[in-house]
């Protein structure tokens, strides 16, 4: 039997197929896409009830609240990122593909962001209205969340990959990932606050972009290494 060489352009074929597969999977189980959004809305509802309905007070804490709630909502969906694949054995097959694992892992993370981070960013302005977020900061809120949640997905995927083999990985995952989220939170919420104060936001957004760049350099390798560890049990 002849030896098989590697087909040309196989990486792109594999990445495209993985993107499509994960999109189809999530869209067939819509509740997994909707749950973080509902959670986001619920948490935001709790704050005025727990603190005070006073619009002035809410407006001052709104940037931080929206960012923290969105961050927790994104965290909620992370545990499932690799777990389904781990349980039915397709993760094993993903690792045995001749294509570079970091690239395939990036495809999975991209789908996670597309169906979690991006919808949360688009939904945040609506919840901003409910928290009396001052006008003029809505676009920055959505932008900072869209940019920041991409970093969150990348960093979170490292944690998800490390804990995917553990039966009670969920709580541990938040313990591992939340401290690493803090810089993104600082600059994300900072951007919204700066927009409210009328200060320039380009510096904040640039730093969020820089954090994303750093995450994109390191995370794929860390995710791939972590997946290889987890598959060993």
């Amino acid at each position: 039997m002849p030896r098989v060489g590697e087909p040309e352009g196989g990486v792109m074929v594999a990445i495209r197929a993985t993107l499509r597969r994960d999109l189809v999977l999530l869209l067939r189980r819509r509740s997994e896409v909707l749950n973080p959004l509902v959670f986001f809305a619920l948490v935001i509802t709790l704050f005025p009830i727990g603190i005070s309905p006073d619009p002035e007070l809410l407006a001052t804490i709104a940037p931080g609240l929206l960012w923290v709630a969105a961050l927790l909502a994104a965290l909620l969906s992370l545990d499932g990122l690799f777990r389904g694949d781990y349980e039915d054995g397709s993760l094993e097959q993903l690792l045995l593909s001749p294509q570079p694992l970091p690239a395939l892992a990036m495809a999975k993370v991209a789908v996670h962001w597309l169906l979690t981070g991006l919808p949360l960013a688009l939904m945040a302005p609506v919840l901003g209205i409910m928290l009396a977020l001052p006008a003029g900061s809505y676009l920055v809120l959505a932008l900072s969340l869209a940019l920041g949640s991409a970093s969150l997905s990348l960093i979170g995927a490292i944690g998800a990959a490390l804990t995917v083999g553990l039966s009670r990985g969920g709580v541990l995952l938040s313990l591992l990932v939340l401290p690493l989220y803090i810089p993104v939170l600082i600059f994300g919420a900072g951007a919204v606050q700066a927009a409210i104060l009328g200060a320039g936001v380009s510096a904040h957004l640039a730093i969020l972009g820089a954090l994303l760049a750093v995450a994109m350099i390191f995370a794929p390798w860390a995710i791939a290494a972590s997946l290889r560890i987890s598959i060993n049990g």
Partner: protein, 214 residues
């Protein structure tokens, strides 16, 4: 002589216990090597090491004479591994599952080939049913369809006969033999007794066996 996969002085220690030590083995073209041993004797671990999934071992692995670590991508492009779990997504149809596996191998493939492969494992008529509605045996057959679909010389199969009915078992045995006749090689663990054949070799792990090839 086309020598394929070779292990020299392979040893694996799991949490202070040697699963096997000083294991030498060779799988050449046209051979079936059946790994035997009681539960917990390290069959699955050995298969994972030999398929390049586990890095936690001592000794050396060679693929076509070159150290496996150096030719890993080439090795993976020639390997088809089926593990305990079938690796079939419940929310996808058999066709979609196969399309993804073909893409992982780096080719887009075409629908006709996939339909043909599914028909060959007795799943004609189930192509567009979500895998969640299939039985365990049928899901396993979806995974086995990959043997038809993706031409790879080296098959590493961990308990491939699980949940398969009698006709399916016979068909799979035929398929393994056909593969070796074409010059492919098979590394398999199974509790099922394989038909005796000239190119079948056995490797015993665990107590009493201690890595003897017969």
């Amino acid at each position: 002589m086309s020598l394929r996969l070779q292990a020299r002085r392979l040893a694996c220690e799991r949490d202070d216990r040697w699963l096997f030590r000083d294991l030498d083995l060779e799988i050449q073209a046209g051979e079936i090597l059946r790994v035997e041993g009681p539960n917990g004797s390290g069959k699955t671990t050995l298969l994972k090491i030999l398929s390049g999934q586990l890095a936690d071992y001592q000794g050396e692995l060679f693929w076509d004479g070159a150290p496996l670590r150096q030719v890993r991508r080439d090795f993976l492009a020639n390997l088809l591994y089926l593990g305990h779990a079938p690796g079939v997504k419940a929310a996808l149809t058999p066709l979609e599952n196969l399309a993804w596996y073909q893409a992982l191998a780096g080719t887009v493939g075409n629908e006709d080939d996939r339909l043909e492969a599914l028909a060959a494992v007795g799943l004609a008529g189930y192509e567009d049913v979500p895998a969640a509605q299939l039985s365990a045996g049928q899901q396993r057959r979806v995974a086995l369809a990959r043997l038809e679909l993706t031409p790879r010389p080296l098959w590493v199969l961990d308990e491939p006969f699980t949940a398969i009915d009698r006709e399916g078992v016979a068909a799979l045995e035929d398929r393994l033999e056909a593969h070796t006749r074409r010059g492919g090689s098979v590394l398999v663990t199974t509790h099922h007794a394989l038909r005796p054949s000239a190119n079948l070799r056995r490797l015993c792990l665990g107590e009493g066996g201690d890595g003897v090839t017969r």
